[in-house]
Amino acid sequence: MDTVLDTAFFVAWFEDAAKVIRLRREDLTRLDAAIGDADHGVNLDRGFTEVRKALADWPPASPVQVLVSAGTTLIRRVGGASGPLYGSAFRQMGKALEEPVTLARFAGAFEAGVVAVERLGKAAPGDKTMLDALVPASRALAQAVHEGLEPREAFERAARAAEEGTQATIPMRARKGRASYLGERSVGHEDPGAASSALIVASLVTVAGGMPDGMTDDVADGADGAGG
């Protein structure tokens, strides 16, 4: 029987992502200082903190609700380029998500989220943006589904792909976002949005790793503890 990713799993995902972003806030901002305007870590930290608050204040009843609430909160609270982009990604992911959530359905929804980013930002892989982490992650997920892997392993593959995609942004010359203003000078720096995307995907691993095989609602607390 397929593992089901329940509401608690999604809540735990955002909880963990929020913690990691808080921890890496200064690193992300420093990456943005090199080729942008030194606010990416601050922006995402503000947004994910609000996401946590929203999820606590209005406990969501379903995975779809988690994603839509998170996406809406990011749009409403982040601003900048990354707010609408991440916000739309999660909202579209939520809207595309069928419940109960199997890994295959998760992968499909994830791809819908990535497509939303592509549409909104009019960017493609190779432009040195978050898409250079998200697109490989999405492909890795699809491949894992194809291979019939368990969520944990699938997430590990996606996280690895996102991380590799992030590293691959270093030699790229930016064609979208603020970094594109630097022309050649954008070469040699890691894209902050790709870096934050890799962190968010990696949180899937943490949360899945903290979960016993048969995932249930009360597992979330454990995941939360593991991510803390």
Binding site: T29, R30, A33, A34, I35, G36, D37, A38, D39, V42, N43, R46, I75, R76, R77, V78, G79, G80, A81, S82, G83, P84, L85, L120, G121, R173, R175, K176, G177, R178, S180, Y181, L182, G183, R185
Partner: protein, 326 residues
Amino acid sequence: MKKLINSADSVVGDALNGLAAAHPSLRVLGQVVYRASGPRAGKVGLVSGGGSGHEPLHAGFVGYGMLDAACPGEIFTSPVPDQIIEATRAVDGGAGVLHIVKNYTGDVLNFEMAAELCDDVEVASVLVDDDVAVQDSLYTAGRRGTGATLFVEKIAGALAEEGAPLAEVVRVAGEVDERSRSFGIALTSCTTPAAGEPTFDLPDDRVELGIGIHGEPGRNRAPMAPARELAGLAMEAVHGDLPLRGELLVMVNGMGGTPLLELYVVFAEVEAFVRGKGARVARSLVGNYVTSLDMQGFSVTVCRLDDELTRLWDAPVETPGLRWGR
């Protein structure tokens, strides 16, 4: 880093409180700055916004003859759609609302989202993209909006104040943008309150050419040089893109940390350059108008005037940052 703030988190809100306290002509509600007098029936509403840290842009340009509302985001971060939606609805006097948007991915996306969600208001938008340091091509996010934003806000604001319909205001706003070009040079980086350290390091014998207004590094570096040469570099870049001709509106704008004395030195060189090209500075502004926190440096923005634009530039304006004629 030393800054006159209470905390990095509260700086925008605290400054807005100060703005409201200092200017009874403004009202601040939910991180939107309005004219205290409210919308005027039949007048096109003008809304702009963008990251904070560029003061007096935009909030300092709310008032008679210019903006109806400004949406300040966090430092260097575009505002969120909620602010823009609220502002748009609040300033609509039945004649529609113009969004004046600086061309940055974040500003564009947030204003677009807001505009889509304001289906009860007729919304048009103009994209300001005057910075010749960025080539508009498939390989960039397009030219940045910098100093010309002030020109667009002033001139479109004057036309709106006269009661012109939205389509007319849109046309003139677009015309100002098309006729305007900017180029900026930094002597130092700036320090955002949240980062606490300069965004980039710039040695004492180097300047950063082709900067924007977010403390981002420029296209390249050059050796520090006398004001005449730096002004020449900036003006050549502008002139190379839009040949200087006829009557010009010229702004020599400080990036926030450069004293007025030096801006006048630069203006003298810019004016001589313009004369050298056979054009004329018909109107001018010298001061800190579109800033980048505490950055030292300047930008120069040129707009090729025609009779209509000159008349609208000269029209009365009454805002904290720009005021004449009343």
